[in-house]
């Protein structure tokens, strides 16, 4: 089982002065986190696309490009690329460049994303969302198939035997389809033979089990080779040395981010008892001590059969030192426990 991290480049707050750090500092912190994740043996680091003062990770491939030369084995990708408001040609060129610089460690995850700032920023209408996404995904997949592309659509100028370079040395890039649980997205990924990434950010994680089955059945129906059928899970998480302290600390930051998102989107932040329910047992928030997190990952694996799970830890101005400690514990404590447990199951 692969384990990893994803981040939107959360801006940290100075514990002394209470002031928010700079967006530039947050960007450098992100690079520091990726280097550590590689050092402690984690498998994946994804950067999401956000365009806000609090989450300024708007140019993932630049940060990942820097990380490519500072890391050895960790896979580097987006989580997610808001494909609807980007140009698939440019997205592909950037990730293929990253792939070259990282010796084949680049991945793209395409999806809607959880925020919508990129629509007005790049001059797109949210009302065209479905259309934009379907068309741009089609083009991105086409570019992944061959270096010369002939294509025509509604939202981008046509391409006539256009050359798109550089090319990945392995032949193609992994392109994941990200979804928050709409069943039709699972069908779409299965029929297209794309690996699927589930964002499980609230409620009971096991409710995605039927979706995983739907995805596999759709892939089987389309006769997709087994090796192409892959599931990953992205969820909020935080690992601390002590379970109670970890849950207490993450509550503060999780509540802060829910409150600020709630203000924009018009919902009240969930109360503490709601958090406590989701941050334990079968909930979507993987917060606690290493043993508990390892056990919960293994349990979810039994329900979804996912091959990768990665966590968003730096939310609501989590101090960098705690973010780094959590990454370290995920790599040095949680991962060996998960490997041992799943290894046992495999051998049994």
């Amino acid at each position: 089982m692969e384990l990893g991290i994803y981040s939107f480049g959360d801006v940290q707050r100075d514990p002394g002065t209470g002031k928010l750090g700079s967006t530039a500092e947050a960007t450098r912190n992100l690079l520091e986190a990726i280097k550590l994740a590689d050092e402690v043996g984690l498998d994946f680091f994804g950067i999401g696309e956000h365009h806000t003062r609090e989450m300024p990770a708007s140019a993932a491939t630049v940060v990942l490009g820097a990380a490519a030369s500072a890391t050895k084995t960790i896979r580097l990708g987006s989580a997610v690329t808001v494909l609807s408001t980007d140009d698939p040609v440019r997205v592909y060129q950037q990730f293929a460049t990253l792939d070259a610089l990282s010796n084949g460690r680049a991945e793209i995850t395409a999806g809607r994303g959880s925020s919508t700032e990129s629509f007005p920023l790049f001059g797109h209408s949210l009302n065209d969302y479905d259309d934009l996404f379907a068309e741009k995904l089609e083009l991105l997949l086409k570019i992944n198939e061959s270096e010369t592309v002939t294509w025509k659509g509604k939202h981008r100028p046509a391409l006539n035997e256009a050359l798109v370079v550089p090319r990945p040395e392995s032949g193609s890039l992994p392109i994941w389809l990200a979804t928050g649980g709409n069943p039709q997205s699972s069908v779409r990924a299965g029929l297209l033979g794309l690996p699927i990434s589930y964002a499980i950010i609230g409620g009971q994680a096991a409710r995605f089990a039927p979706l995983a089955e739907l995805y596999r059945r759709a892939a089987a129906q389309a006769k997709i080779p087994e090796a192409q059928v892959k599931i990953s899970v992205a969820s909020p998480g935080f690992v601390g040395d002590d379970a109670t302290k970890a849950k207490e600390q993450f509550w503060v930051h999780w509540h802060a981010v829910m409150e600020s998102i709630g203000k924009i989107r018009g919902f009240s932040p969930p109360p503490r008892h709601h958090y406590d329910m989701e941050a334990s047992g079968a909930g979507a928030l993987f917060v606690g001590a290493p043993e508990e997190i390892a056990q919960r990952i293994v349990t979810l694996h039994g329900q979804l059969g996912h091959m990768r799970q990665f966590f968003q830890m730096d939310v609501g101005h989590l101090p960098q030192k705690d973010f780094l400690r959590s990454i370290e514990l995920l790599g040095t404590r949680v991962k060996p426990l998960v490997d041992a447990e799943l290894g046992k199951k495999l051998a049994a």
Partner: protein
């Protein structure tokens, strides 16, 4: 005497539509589902996500249903054919949520999205409900009648009998219905109100509706 509600028709097979369909199957209803695609295209989806529900064309689903649930993206409401809904009891679970889904001119205003949808589906006996609850809570928070932790769902509509029958459906799938009155009262549990996303029991919901109604009056 109106015949008992036996058949639930659901338009939309996204997260909300399938969650409601599963609750309805579990409660013993005959459940039919339609999307904008041909029924064969959602057969596998229903087989796995909502065992026991049947896929059909939208017109057939609407015709067969005692209660029709609108669980499609709100931006697609104008793809519905109004004449099919004449006299039908319709539950509108959709939300206008501009920060997430984009602004749509006809929903920018004081009225709730359901009032606009009711204007469009002229002959429908429309009830607004479920809108203030997250989709996964429709399943995770459902509790049997009388359970002390049972959550409440507000409903609003201009047809009293429609409200009564929808209240019966809400109760049977696991929630305490709280009748807010006419369709305009549905504004009190739209996005960006204190009720939206909150976890309330029956008494709390009654109080919250009253407070919202007073403050907006």
């Amino acid at each position: 005497m109106h015949k008992a509600v036996e058949t639930i028709g659901i338009l939309g097979a996204g997260r909300v539509g399938t969650a409601l369909a599963r609750r309805a199957v579990a409660a013993g209803y005959d459940v039919r589902v339609a999307t904008s695609k041909p029924p064969a295209d959602i057969a596998l989806l229903l087989e796995i996500m909502v065992p026991g529900a049947q896929a059909d064309e939208a017109a057939a689903v609407i015709a067969a249903a005692d209660i029709v649930i609108l669980a499609l993206p709100l931006s697609k409401y104008h793809e519905l054919q109004p004449d099919l809904f004449a006299g039908k009891i319709v539950v509108d679970v959709m939300n206008y949520w501009a920060p997430t889904d984009g602004a749509i001119a006809e929903f920018e205003g004081a009225r709730s999205s359901s009032e606009v949808v009711q204007d469009y589906l002229t002959g429908a006996r429309l009830v607004r409900s479920f809108n203030h609850m997250g989709y996964h809570e429709i399943e995770e928070a459902a509790r049997p009648s009388g359970h002390p932790g049972r959550r409440a769902l507000a409903l609003a509509g201009n047809d009293a009998e429609a409200r009564r029958l929808v209240a019966g459906f809400i109760d049977r799938i696991g929630f305490d219905p709280v009748d807010a009155g006419g369709l305009a009262a549905g504004r009190t549990f739209a996005t960006a109100t204190p009720i939206f996303g909150a976890s309330l029991g029956r008494a709390e919901m009654q109080q919250a509706l009253q407070e919202e109604a007073t403050s907006s009056a």
